[in-house]
């Protein structure tokens, strides 16, 4: 293959883009509340997600209080502890991470980055947010109903999830029902939003913006959305079937059971069927959260190291490849469910194969940094923190992906440490980095650097203080989901001290997030003026006429795209970046 640009096709269409009809808000209500502008919807999504995420953060503190200092707090009963575990997990995975990456960043960045005025179906986009908000409210309502929220664990495994022994599932309790209804609403709301993200990437791109000129952020969010559209129905099916079991007395998942000496009406159902459905959603979900993070981090590294991303094509292929592979690994969450050994072998193999495209991405990030002009800005610090954390979490994934290693480690704190590293800390690092990176564009002002430094270092060091010892705690055999260990012979005394240490670290990390939120709020008024393109980045969102971008994003004329998103430090160019909508060919540019 020869590396020459393709010759011009003779019949090039004119460089104009047909204008779309744009909805114009007329009042305060339609501009800021029932808004159809993707940027406002993005902020609505983000604020809601962060608000419910704070609830989940407090729940994790309560759990750590119990684990670090057992029996000190009377109100944390075992039932309450299970409720905290369940709600913490479900909120963080679905209502925070998924909503923030796709609803928040997706809405804000897709139209701006592909050069569109707005999402293609703004009205449906608005509905998406309101249905999401309703789902969150239903979830929050479960804290206030008799019996409290469900305590079934975030995986909601039947039969226990709907039996009377589980908190929120006793006769007359509403916890589990509200949980399932909330999930169904979330999926409906997400589908509305997801249609927008996909069709906007397919149809809304500016003239010249080919798929291979899109920033990797858009590739990550796009692929994750396609996956979510195909995977969330599995959760919907599982939720609907479990609602039938609970409310109408069918036996999809429920085997014959005797409860308190009484034969229940259920019979013959298969709890394993639920596990298959749940993890058919649950494993792609890991990558639904990870792929946007991969994409965003690629862009952060490229911008803040002033270098083009290494292996752009390979990065795109890896994103798509990971997305496809993640649909055939779900049963590695079920090694201990008694499956056929050949299936275990099959799923261990597919799981390990995913390590290949993932490792390609890690190498490419590192090679992008190699001899780059690295600026240790706050977004860059978080991006570097992500790479390290993701590698650490990914390596323990290789342990757990192997059946023989997984079986003894299953249901220990090792698993908890693993998935918090890989899909808790790592994506959150990217979210933080992304918020710092795009904050100047969203508000027109710069964040406070000192508070940002404090936030990063406490979060980064603190997260390791929490989760590194937790691996050890799991290795010595401490099971997950136990509110209290007691004094078992198989666990060494050192675990008690470690648990207290982990809890203290968790409080510190939580406190740093409050500093972060304060920084966001404080800088809105007091931050210095950031200008339109403070990072001197190439992508279209930094080339808007106004900062923050007005309604319609690009002023009078839509941008035309002349190059890919990574022209940094191009030899011969007058500056160390060339914007995507800059038509000047480099060879004609005057060297400085």
């Amino acid at each position: 293959m020869v590396d020459v640009p393709t010759p011009l096709p003779p019949d090039v269409p004119p460089a104009e883009v047909p204008e779309v009809e744009l909805y114009h808000a007329k009042s305060y209500w339609t501009k800021y509340i029932f808004a159809q502008d993707a940027k406002v919807i993005a902020i609505q999504y983000s604020c809601t997600a962060i608000a419910i995420g704070l609830v989940a953060l407090v729940l994790s503190w309560l759990m750590r209080l119990q684990l670090g200092f057992p029996d000190l707090f009377d109100f944390i009963t075992p039932e309450a502890y299970y409720q905290f575990v369940t709600m913490h997990g479900m909120i963080m995975v679905v209502y925070l991470l998924t909503a923030l990456f796709l609803g928040g960043f997706g809405n804000y960045l897709i139209p701006l980055m592909v050069g569109a005025r707005d999402m293609v179906f703004p009205y449906v986009n608005m509905l998406s947010f309101w249905v999401y908000l309703l789902a969150v409210l239903v979830l929050v309502a479960s804290f206030f109903v008799p019996g409290g929220p469900t305590g079934a664990g975030w995986t909601l495994y039947p039969p226990q999830a709907i039996l009377s022994g589980t908190p929120g599932s006793a006769e007359g309790d509403l916890g589990i029902i509200l949980m399932l209804v909330s999930l169904i609403l979330f999926i409906i709301g997400f589908t509305m939003g997801g249609l927008n993200y996909v069709v906007t990437v397919l149809q809304g791109r500016a003239r010249g913006m080919t798929l291979m000129r899109m920033p990797l952020t858009v590739w990550g969010i796009f692929t994750a959305t396609v996956m979510a559209l195909l995977a969330f129905p599995a959760l919907l099916v599982a939720s609907v079937m479990m609602l039938f079991d609970r409310l109408l007395g069918t036996s999809f998942f429920m085997p014959s059971l005797v409860e308190f000496g009484e034969q229940l009406q259920y019979g013959g159902g298969s709890p394993i069927l639920f596990q298959h459905l749940f993890w058919f959603f649950g494993h792609p979900e890991v990558y639904i959260v990870a792929l946007p993070a991969f994409g965003i981090v690629s862009d952060l590294i490229s911008v803040h190291a002033r270098k083009n991303i290494f292996g752009y094509r390979m990065m795109v292929w890896a994103i798509v490849g990971i997305g496809a592979l993640s649909f055939i690994v779900w049963a590695h969450h079920m090694y201990v469910s008694g499956m056929h050994p050949y299936f275990g072998f099959f799923f261990a193999t597919t799981t390990l194969i995913i390590a290949i495209p993932t490792a390609i991405k890690v190498y490419n990030w590192v090679l992008t940094l190699w001899r780059g002009d690295i600026h240790l800005t706050i977004p860059m610090l978080f991006a570097l923190g992500f790479i390290v954390t993701f590698v650490n979490g990914g390596l323990t994934g290789l342990f757990l992906g192997n059946v023989v290693v997984d079986v003894p480690l299953s249901d220990t704190m090792f698993v908890v440490a693993h998935f918090h590293m890989v899909m808790g800390v790592a994506p959150i690092m990217v979210i933080m980095g992304a918020i710092y990176h795009w904050y100047p564009k969203m508000t027109g002002r710069m964040y406070n650097e000192a508070m940002g430094q404090f936030h990063f270092w406490v979060t980064f060091v603190g997260a390791y203080a929490i989760f590194f010892p937790m691996h050890y705690v799991g290795l010595v055999g401490v099971p997950r989901r136990y509110p209290e260990l007691g004094d078992p012979a198989f666990v060494t005394q050192s675990v008690d001290g470690l648990n207290a240490f982990i809890s203290l670290a968790a409080f510190a990390v939580g406190f740093a997030q409050i500093v972060f939120l304060f920084n966001i709020y404080w800088s809105l008024r007091n931050g210095r003026d950031a200008g339109g393109n403070p990072w001197r980045a190439t992508t279209l969102e930094w080339q808007t006429a106004d900062t923050p971008p007005g309604h319609g994003n690009f002023g009078d004329e839509l941008p035309v795209v002349y190059r890919w998103a990574y022209d940094y430090s191009v030899p011969g160019a007058p500056e160390d970046f060339i914007a995507q909508n800059d038509p000047t060919p480099v060879s004609q540019a005057e060297p400085t």
């Binding site: 249609l195 397919l202 010249g208 013959g268 094509r313 002349y562 190059r563 890919w564």
Partner: protein
């Protein structure tokens, strides 16, 4: 999970073919300028709504593929007793086919500019769809009264649930169809009526296809095929 995996395999093939056509093998760092872009590869046709509907129908397809996957897994357990399908489902199948045909006629009429024929075929299409829903309710009642109630056996539960969810989709489609009929009756813009008719007809054809797949599965014609695939997959 055979059904959903087959569904996803087909999607993956389509996706790979599309990505190759969209130039994922190109080297964007070498290709500057708008003129080097292959015409059409920076954006596709302007039919946003049609693409949107296509994406939505893919999600609907995924949903039903998952329901059917669950059906086949649950079917392998000992307590499964197949449901004798009530005769009325054949009538409802006929009504849905009729409805689909009428909507297609409406599309053709709308394209030919024949307003009266458009209005009438849309209206009768909607009536046929309502008839379908009524027949389904009769089928539910018949099953319940002859001892095949929802909770008696998982096969019954699946029959009620899957056809019920399918009915809900028809009901949602009827809302859109109702809006279209109102638009056509108020002599809305021709282009809009044509587009909306096409969207409704596509949705109806797809739901008819899903209905036929559901019937094939519920009657049991797909059992041996699935049993064969089940040897290889969980």
């Amino acid at each position: 999970m055979t059904v959903i995996l087959l569904f996803l395999l087909i999607l993956a093939c389509l996706g790979a073919w599309w990505l190759l056509r969209q130039g994922v093998m190109s080297k964007p760092w070498l290709e500057t300028g708008v003129d080097t872009v292959q015409p059409g590869s920076d954006r596709m046709s302007p039919h946003l709504a049609k693409i949107g509907l296509g994406v939505f129908l893919t999600v609907v397809g995924s949903l039903f593929a998952l329901f059917l996957s669950a059906y086949f897994i649950r079917m392998a357990y000992a307590d499964w007793r197949p449901v004798p399908l009530p005769q009325v489902v054949w009538i409802s199948t006929g009504q849905l086919i009729l409805s689909s045909i009428l909507l297609q006629i409406a599309v053709i009429a709308a394209r030919n500019g024949d307003r009266t024929a458009t209005k009438l075929s849309l209206l009768f299409g909607a009536i046929a769809a309502l008839g379908f829903l009524t027949s389904q309710l009769i089928a539910f009642g018949e099953l319940t009264s002859t001892g095949f109630a929802l909770t008696k056996n998982p096969a019954n539960s699946f029959f009620f649930m899957i056809t019920g969810i399918h009915g809900l989709h028809i009901l949602g489609g009827l809302v859109a169809l109702g809006l279209l009929i109102a638009d056509a009756w108020n002599d809305g813009p021709v282009e809009r009526v044509i587009l909306r008719s096409e969207l409704c007809a596509t949705y109806w054809h797809f739901l008819l296809l899903i209905w036929i797949v559901i019937m094939v599965v519920l009657i049991g014609w797909a059992d041996s095929f699935i049993a064969f695939c089940g040897q290889f997959l969980p």
